[in-house]
């Protein structure tokens, strides 16, 4: 997996590392079980402080993406094929998605364009089209309003 970090960007470096790893898991570059470099190794390769990478890995561990073992090192714990997320996750995610989509809406991006972008992004992940149990009813939280917050996950293009 190729990792790009913008050291002078608006987003903190630890957040960038976390985001890139999550994206790599989603698009299949890092399937479950893939090893990641140790904290020190990745800090050396990026030339950033040890604690920066430590923070990223700690977040990834807390969010359930990676497992940190004393012997095994950092390993990707789950990927798109590893089943549904933990209960309650979707609501939390939809709230954050709402903010992100609202940003575009507020700046004048129209609905179809927003949907189109979402579809394209999800298509880029090449998610496996394994049959899954129908999504539980009452999935979209009330706060999601008219924006189809769960559409990207359901609208798998393959």
């Amino acid at each position: 997996m190729l990792l790009h970090v913008e050291p002078d960007g608006a987003v903190p470096i630890y957040q960038q590392i976390r985001d890139r790893v999550v994206e790599a898991i989603a698009d299949g570059a890092l399937p479950a079980g893939s090893p990641l470099p140790s904290i020190r190794q990745l800090a050396v390769d990026l030339g950033v402080n040890y604690h920066t990478v430590n923070k990223s890995y700690d977040i990834l561990r807390r969010e359930g993406f990676v497992q940190l073992g004393r012997k095994s090192g950092a390993v990707v714990r789950r990927d798109p094929t590893a089943g549904p997320p933990t209960p309650g996750y979707l609501e939390d995610w939809a709230a954050r998605l709402r903010t992100l989509l609202a940003e575009a809406a507020a700046l004048g991006v129209d609905g179809p364009e927003i949907i189109h972008r979402c579809e394209r992004t999800v298509a880029g992940f090449h998610l496996p089209s394994t049959p899954r149990a129908p999504a539980p009813a009452g999935d979209p939280p009330a706060s999601a309003g008219t924006l189809p917050s769960h559409a990207p996950t359901d609208d798998r293009n393959r």
Binding site: M1, L2, L3, H4, V5, E6, P7, D8, G9, L30, S34, P35, L36, P37, S38, R40, Q41, L42, A43, V44, D45, L46, G47, V48, N49, Y50
Partner: protein, 369 residues
């Protein structure tokens, strides 16, 4: 022969110094970080030309001086001529480098070369999860030469005379003596051991260092760096084996088993030096001169036009000394030259510096005893 021994080191060093700008990464010109769209800037082409002229003509001058001095002195003094000329060569080349670096920096600052570019650091996680394998088999020859020398020494030691010749004239006549002891008889075997351990340790550290990938083509530069490591390790291990062979010849001379001239003893090390130089010219720093077969470039590696490797000039004093407190790396790729340099701001580097200094001083102390 004396002429050759005083001129050859000058020629080799002069060639190395003149070649450095050709071997460095395009994004690092005379120790200055340069964005991809500026690697062909007029100021860079001009400074490369100037530096080549400066070092090239000076090398010519130094060669003539070395030859003239060698012709005018005794054979004993001829061996000392490179000691006189090499510092002058290094000094003048450094001056040429600093001038070129200064001019390029001026242009970079004046024209704000990084304006509008996104500065990026790139890393490849497979660099660590599928690390490049150290060519351990290439270390066997130097270990074998060391072992053979030690065995011959052990067999010969009981029958050595009271006094051991420890210094020889260039033609191989002994002119320095020491009382025979395990220390004096095996000092060169200890040197062989140090050479083997030091080179092995530095190469292993090199394999674990960061490749410092090009942000605009990380995949390609990662593959090149892997090839660079393999070629460099093999050439340097060949140098270690040949150096040990030269030390073995010197041992046999000391143990009065053969009688050879200084040139014969120096020849293996010289061949090794040429091998390392040839490998460096072949690969360039970090494999930058290695070309991949056409059509072999995997997709998804297209250079992005608006991104550039982070401008990290502020961590490099004179483009030579690297000091970055936040960087946990000990070894980093050199900016001007082929190979690695150390991060002097990292406390983990300091014991390593101490060990290297001790290892360099120890043989000198042993010889003095």
């Amino acid at each position: 022969m004396e002429l050759l021994s005083s001129v050859l080191p000058v020629v080799l060093l002069g060639t190395c110094l003149s070649l450095i700008p050709v071997l460095t990464r395009p994004g690092l010109q005379f120790g200055v970080r340069v964005p991809p769209d500026r690697v062909d800037a007029p100021v860079i082409r001009q400074q490369r030309r100037h530096y080549l002229w400066w070092t090239g003509s000076l090398t010519g001058g130094f060669v003539v001086a070395a030859a003239g001095l060698a012709a005018g002195t005794s054979p004993l003094a001829a061996g000392l001529i490179p000691m006189l000329i090499i510092p002058a060569q290094l000094g003048t080349a450094t001056a040429g480098y600093l001038v070129a670096r200064h001019r390029i920096r001026q242009a970079k600052d004046a024209q704000d070369w990084y304006h509008g570019l996104t500065q990026v650091i790139a890393a490849d996680t497979s660099w660590r999860t599928e690390p490049e394998r150290f060519p351990i088999r290439w270390a066997l020859p130097s270990v074998a030469v060391l072992a053979v020398t030690a065995v011959i020494g052990a067999v010969r030691y009981p029958s050595l005379p009271e006094r051991l010749p420890i210094h020889f004239t260039w033609s191989g006549t002994p002119d320095g003596w020491a009382g025979t002891s395990a220390l004096s008889a095996f000092s060169l075997v200890a040197t062989q051991l140090l050479v083997t351990l030091l080179i092995g340790a530095l190469l292993v550290a090199g394999f674990r260092s960061r490749p410092d990938l090009d942000a605009d083509a990380p995949g390609r530069s990662a593959r090149r760096y892997r090839a660079f490591l393999q070629i460099t390790a093999r050439s340097v291990l060949a140098l270690a084996a040949l150096t040990n062979l030269g030390l073995m010849l010197a041992c046999l001379q000391m143990w009065q088993l053969v009688r050879i001239s200084g040139a014969t003893a120096a020849l293996p090390g010289l061949v090794g030096g040429v091998i390392v130089l040839a490998a460096a010219v072949r690969t360039g720093q970090a494999g930058t001169r290695l070309r991949e077969p056409a059509g072999d470039e995997p997709a998804g590696d297209e250079p992005a036009t608006d991104t550039a490797h982070r401008d990290d000039d502020r961590f490099w004093t004179l483009g030579i000394f690297y000091a970055n407190r936040d960087d946990p790396a000990v070894l980093v790729p050199k900016r001007f030259g082929v190979g690695w340099t150390i991060n002097v701001a990292n406390p983990r580097t300091w014991p390593m510096i101490a060990v290297v200094i001790v290892l360099i001083i120890a043989p000198a102390l042993l010889a003095a005893l």
